[in-house]
């Protein structure tokens, strides 16, 4: 029944391993209760189970040792997973309690030089600040001949409440660079529906221009009477803001100015930094009738996460077709 083959014919000699095993097995069959009747009934598998249990095959001790090692690997795996449980703890995005000081970067990721910003550019230049969902215009203002003009400090009035605050004026080599929130305070339209109109486009020709470049006659007239060489205008419902005077509203329907982004210019490096926000809260804060007097509401997390210590200025598009 149990035959020991020898593959290599006559020359085959039992190896010490095999010899050892046979001795163990025969010893076990004699002394450890091998049941020939069971063997006849169950065949092979009975013999194997018997051999496993009673020779130095898989005895209980070895099995437990193996089990312990496998459980060890399991425990180690769990130990490795434990730091991963932090995935359940939400990162605290609303923890931004103050405005970050963020250097403005150009699209290649290096700091933007203030003197490289073209004057009265029709291209919409945007950067997010203080949170990732809050776009702002970056403007280098000039006069109608394209020379940069110094933007002076002025007092801005919030028509809705009558509150006043002081706009600090422009920065940069010519004190001509300003930044404002790019979300319209009326109903929250965003670029390209709201954008800057350089002096070149502040003409009656724009009255018939296609969206989003249409000016209203009212806007043109108000710019003229305010002596603003250029304006920010929202095509959604026609709100107009004066970028030379802290984005003071020129025409409705808006009842609030665009919040100002405070900028700092480092004259030694020519870099620009955003420092904070001024005026009213970024739309829609205060849209429910009462304007927010507190620009730090811009830091609430539903606008995104903090931009950190740098923010990229994107040249989004030129809305004007000609």
């Amino acid at each position: 029944m149990l035959s020991f083959h020898s593959k290599k014919g006559d020359k085959k000699v039992l190896s010490p391993d095999e010899f050892h095993f046979i001795r163990e097995l025969t010893f076990a069959i004699r002394n450890k209760g091998f049941d020939p009747k069971e063997f006849v009934k169950k065949g092979d598998s009975y013999l194997f189970n018997f051999a496993e249990k009673n020779t130095s095959g898989i005895d209980e001790k070895r099995r437990n040792f193996l089990k312990a090692m496998v459980i060890g690997v399991g425990v180690v795996t769990v130990a490795g997973i434990i730091p991963g449980l932090r995935v359940l703890v939400p990162p605290n995005v609303s923890a931004v309690s103050s405005f970050p000081k963020s250097v403005l970067l150009n699209s290649s990721g290096s700091p933007l030089k203030a003197s490289s910003i073209s004057v009265n550019s029709p291209i919409i230049m945007l950067f997010n600040y203080p949170l990732s969902g809050e776009p702002n215009f970056l403007l280098n203002l000039g006069d109608s001949s394209g020379k940069p003009v110094e933007v002076p400090s002025s007092t801005v009035t919030v028509p809705q409440t009558g509150d006043k605050y002081t706009f600090p004026g422009g920065v940069g080599p010519n004190k001509s660079i300003v930044a404002y929130s790019a979300i319209c305070q009326h109903l929250g339209c965003k670029p390209p529906f709201i954008h800057f109109y350089p002096p070149k486009y502040l003409t009656p020709a724009q009255l018939t221009a296609p969206e989003p470049d249409t000016l209203t006659a009212e806007a043109l007239a108000s710019a003229k009477s305010a002596k603003a060489p250029a304006i920010i205008h929202c095509d959604c419902h026609g709100s107009t803001y004066d970028p030379y005077h802290g984005a003071q509203p020129l025409t409705g329907p808006t009842v609030r100015p665009l919040p100002t982004v405070l900028l700092e210019w480092d004259s030694s490096t020519d870099y620009l930094y955003a420092l904070g926000s001024l005026g009213v809260g970024i739309y829609p804060e205060g849209a429910n009738g009462v304007p927010s007097k507190n620009p730090t509401v811009d830091l609430s997390s539903n606008f995104g996460s903090s931009v950190g210590d740098k923010t990229e200025v994107k040249e989004a598009e030129n809305p004007f077709s000609s």
């Binding site: 391993d17 095999e18 437990n64 496998v70 690997v73 180690v76 991963g84 990162p91």
Partner: protein, 563 residues
Amino acid sequence: MSKESLSSRVSNWFKDRLGLDDLPLFKTPDYMFHVNEWLGALVAGAFFYTVISGLILLLYYNPEAGYDATETIINTVPYGSVFLYSHLYGSYAMIILAYIHMFRNYFTGAYKKPRELLWIFGVLMLVLTLGASFLGYSLIGDVLATSAVDVGAGIISSVPQLSFLLPILFGNYDSGDFTRVLAWHIILVALIGFLFVFHLLMAERYGMMPSRKVKPKAPAVYTKEEDQKFNPWWPRNFVYMMSLIFLTWGFIIAIPNALAYLNGLPQELDPFLNPKPAPPPSSPLAAQVTTYPPWFFLFVYKIADFTSDVVLFLLIGVIIPLVYLLLVPFIDRTDELHPLKRRVFTGIGILMITYLVQTSIWGDIQPGIQVSVAEQVLAYLPPAIIVAIGMAFLPYREKGSTRTKVPMFKKAQFSSPIAVLLFMILAMLMAGAATLFLASPSPLSAAIFLPILSLFVFYAKALTPVAIKAMPQGDSSASDSTSETINSTDVIKLERKKRIATYMIGVLLIMSAIIAADMWTIPSTGFESNMWGIDLGLLFIMLGEAISLYHYVVYKKPNESYE
């Protein structure tokens, strides 16, 4: 047995309380402990992983800002990218494994009596899986996802009778509100889970497909008496299943996290391999992205290039193959199981695979390029002719004819003590290279790590036959033993291999401890957190491998070969 060990008492307590012996769980014959028979377990493993990781993502995902939420999960949630990428790859794995599972059962004739309903549920689950994957992919909200939805919606809306489905399916997707897509994604997955319960119960009821040597004709089921003799579900079956599931999880987690390092893949490989989202559709960068459908729908999108008639397209690409698969148990009604005795159906199956792969690759290389009828014939006729000729003339040999198995290479040479020593050294080298690669991922360290890893895998495979591939025990003269003789050399060889396997579990324990310790030092966000993901994947692979080795040592019998 009066004195039982603690562990067997614990095991018995659970067995008893859970009533495991009374559950209608299939008992498994020895020869079935082979991964081919367990493809369903792999699919289920991928499914469970995807559900778990998906629920974690659900804690963070915001359908009103899909792209931003995706970015937030990747950049700011601790280990968010690890779970997001592996969620994606879990679904990829599930799709691929489901196809393999289905076609394997197709060729073995597993859809025949009495498993017709089992098969139909399986096909429905494949459809649901593809649907859920498409919706999940859309949730990213990047330019690829939105254009995929656009094309999908375009296909639906070009059949006027179907356009009522659009608001039902997508809601306000176009204006950035993904609420409905998220809801459908979850609903479809819940449906998969629901069907899975029945699929599994029926699989346990009828058992896995027995080997054709044992049951050559349908209905291929073991009788109650035969079944009683097999290995009970607990513990052997359970142990084997866990090893497969952990191995699946390991690869699902490790691969995408490793890929997250590799930037600048060629465009053809990008939609398949890159787990990172593309830019959002509103970004100027989006214009530079060639829009691809998710790879598992490449074939459908390519068929859309064949004809402008949408109804025809839906028929070719979706409805006919689907209806065929659903009805095949009722079309192929003979009791033959051998593929060469069902030549027509085997031929159709081979063609389906060929066309699926062919069309997908075509769609990847030339997306959206119109294809003329002549080109279609040129591309699709040759495989059909080759298969037809092959099916017509391939000779069918009755079993029992002399068929000598020639082993690919002598496996025994890997199990000498010197080989084990070599393996230990290799394992150490692997650990070293892995650390190097993790610490400074670069093409160079990858170039060092990958060959050593593959060598390690190769060795591990050779040494642990059961883990990945069943190896016929003994040599060819012994394996044709129809007699009841047991070859003592078999027993001794097996014993030697088991000793090696024991050492390997030890090595795995040490290596996994090193990796787990490393995992505590890795930052939870940013680029490095993917290292944690790779480590986690490796841990699961090692755990799976350790359990597989344990299964080999404890349960493997010398006379069980793969049939």
